[in-house]
Symmetry: C2
Subunit: 466 residues, 2 copies
């Protein structure tokens, strides 16, 4: 449905907008939602962004903020209702400043995560947020969804790596809060409120990001464990030995390795006989320690404790890349196989192992299927994905798909977990949030939404169901 | 002024409240404000706390939440208007659960910081938040003010060390968000909104707190530096070598050491000739490294770079305590000397050294006084306190006190800093926030306050001036 306000809106905008909307603006990676074609506006700076938001507020046109478009919960498209204005941050790609001596960088929303990481590396620092889609994902989107990734264990999620933001609020006013301070207790934390608000409370246009020192010594190992409980016990040993030096601790299942065999047969895998469970561990250590020796020491301790049975330590940069490739190709293998249902859940660490057992049992009783459970074990974050049994098609599961997901999420919630660990709510899980969220928290969220966006024009349908 | 609603309120409350209010409930450490004597209610659990808040909401009685009462900005007393109900968390002192395998603890708001730290130590973990008043300060207050302290550099402030909260909102409803998850992207971050809201958006009644591994190796050194710029250069070297293992980096001035000489002459100080500037550095390192060797290596590198001239490394637990005592007794020495004005400011790290020079020059032109500048240099957080010149009385500065503070804060704000780094806004700085805060941010803060507390009964006068 074309938006009758579009023409009026277009006249008011202080610079050209696109009328012929490229299909890419209307898509999201999993193809679940298809956006309405309205206007696309791509401001060059925050003043233009503010002018666009003001014009939309006046015209009563909804706004869908758009970064790299890599989000997995449909937060970047609006399928229903009058077509919105798509506010793309693609032209705000400046790294405004890098302060190596402060370990801070100020980047605009349209900077890709990879560019931000490269700019940090250029001054011998790291921007530690890292995820598979970093070549396309943009800082604004990464913050708006409070993205996680593989280094949360050591460096925290996006929220923990941001000191300040500049944002356009739904009123079209610019909030200047681009501080570069480690401590600033001057009132409510609007930064953390906008981070993770998925564009429903305003548009982040720039951010000051925390850089971290590059550890003097780093290393990667892949270690075979009996089961997830053993993996968690190994994590405990590692944390005790490394004083916070464990930067990644990823769980990989035998099912994932077999999916890789089927879809990427040339990908080198370290263990000829595919183990049932393994972990990828990465450490970053101070000068004076050898990462290899630390990983060997951990392996020996794990071995004495009966936790580990085999392992490899990367001995070159190439081997580091090869081990990481095993982990990072799993989502692509999954897409090639074709999931019945995907879940991005988190659990209290003490509940993870039991959940994996219990959920496996529950699903076995529901039908014949394959489970690929992998993810950021150190954060209690599992990507728990269901696939058709060998030789069967995903369509055969259409009738039970929703119910399976509901049951998986219910088991997660019953154990104090979250049905959205790192991907956000978007449209996909707005109903889940309404169902499982604490009602008092939800009602406070709605009060805040109404207070800041009384017309409900910022990314409607996201977080709150329409 | 007695509150006419008190009697009505008292009848409605489901359990006894105190009518004879002990003076301690009406005091704050610096004696700037004196609270009105109203009712004091001390709930045993969150249901009672909710009932009290509901009763106050119905009766239109304001609530002042109270923890250990150690806050330094007057957030714990209400001097003006009809007497409020003082909601003391002193009876909610349960540590509900400790999960060593998750490195999480669930503690009620009335647990003292010291008790929380002890409970963590009992399971071979640490609760890393540490500050001078930890024997009295309570978890609820520490979170409500987003307290900082000496370990922020490595572990973050209170906000970074909390995974979830239980809180009573101004409506009297209980928000259950006591998650123990490292990742949970299910909507707005109300946890971080209530943390640091200083009791103006509700009352935190319990929290899940992050525990950290106790580093295998730790050590403390005190190192003499030429000036704050050299101290910051040394911090950079330390960060590069230690891969995040620097847990504290505190600046101490010669003025502070001389104040200690004058007020605590028996306190052992490591350098006979009092240096002009020194830093206390604490490191926590992985197994396999010697903290002493790491500190020696840092000292040698700093020495080659011309940054350091002398230093001591603590060789025993007693020496660690002695070095820390030098840092931690400074606030007491300051109180004994009697400050003209105290400032809790933060700056971008690259601005710290120049600020110290510029502010010193500015103040020298305003009159004869002594400056004790010390604090958490690694966080860019300075306690920048002004004292009468030798032989003069603080009263002699009464006429210029406010103006001096205004000028110091203006210099901080001009350099991208904050006029309240770790103590919060309270009543003391509500005017400063109104003056220096970003107007758009302030207006969003007010909108949120009105949305969640439409009657304005939660800690009125705090953050927003009455």
């Amino acid at each position: 449905m074309l938006n009758p306000a579009d023409e009026r809106l277009e006249k008011r905008l202080p610079f050209g907008v696109l009328r012929d909307v490229a299909p890419a603006y209307l898509e999201e990676p999993r193809g679940r939602y298809h956006g309405q074609a309205g206007l696309v506006a791509a401001p060059h700076d925050v003043q233009e962004a503010a002018a666009i938001v003001r014009a939309c507020a006046d015209a009563g046109v909804a706004i869908v903020p758009r970064g790299g478009g890599t989000g997995l919960v449909g937060g970047q498209v609006m399928p229903e209702g009058p077509a919105p204005l798509i506010l793309s941050m693609e032209r705000m790609t400046q790294i405004r400043d890098v302060f190596p001596e402060e370990s801070v960088m100020v980047a605009e929303a349209g900077v890709t995560l990879q560019s931000a990481r490269d700019a940090a590396a250029a001054v011998d620092r790291q921007f530690a947020l890292s995820l598979a889609s970093q070549g396309t994902a943009q800082i604004g989107g990464v913050l708006s969804t409070n993205a996680g990734g593989v280094n949360v264990l050591r460096y925290g999620n996006a929220r923990a790596q941001c000191l300040g933001i500049e944002a356009v609020l739904p009123s079209g006013e610019i909030m200047h809060d681009l501080k570069r301070l480690r401590k600033d207790n001057t009132g409510y934390d609007l930064r953390d409120l906008l981070i993770g608000a998925e564009g429903t409370l305003g548009v982040i246009t720039a951010a000051s990001l925390v850089l971290a020192p590059v550890p003097s010594e780093s290393g990667v190992a892949m270690i075979v464990v009996e089961d997830p409980a053993a993996a968690l016990a190994l994590l405990s040993l590692a944390q005790a030995r490394m004083a916070g030096g464990v930067t990644a601790f990823e769980l990989i299942s035998g099912q994932g390795l077999r999916f890789l065999d089927a879809t990427f047969p040339d990908l080198p895998q370290p263990f000829l006989e595919r183990p049932q469970w393994l972990v990828l561990i990465e450490v970053g250590l101070p000068a004076g320690l050898s990462a290899d020796e630390a990983l060997e020491g951990l392996f020996l301790e794990g071995s004495s404790a009966g936790l580990v049975s085999d392992g490899v330590i990367a001995r070159s940069g190439q081997q580091v890349a090869d081990l990481w490739a095993v982990r990072e190709m799993i989502p692509q293998a999954n897409r090639a196989i074709g999931a019945i249902a995907s879940h991005d859940v988190s659990l209290p660490l003490s509940q993870v192992a039991k959940f994996i057992t219990d959920a496996g049992d529950m699903l076995a009783s529901q039908g014949d299927m394959r489970i690929n459970c992998f993810g950021h074990l150190g954060d209690g974050n599992l990507h728990y994905n269901l696939f058709p049994a060998e030789g069967r098609k995903r369509e055969e599961y259409d009738g039970i798909r929703k119910d399976l997901s509901r049951q998986v999420h219910q088991m997660v919630v019953d154990r104090g977990g979250s049905f959205s660990a790192e991907h956000g709510v978007g449209r996909l899980k707005a109903g889940d949030l309404a169902h499982w969220g604490d009602p008092v928290r939800l009602s406070a969220m709605r009060a805040i939404k109404s207070a800041l966006d009384p017309k409900g024009l910022m990314n409607p349908g996201v977080i709150f169901p329409v």
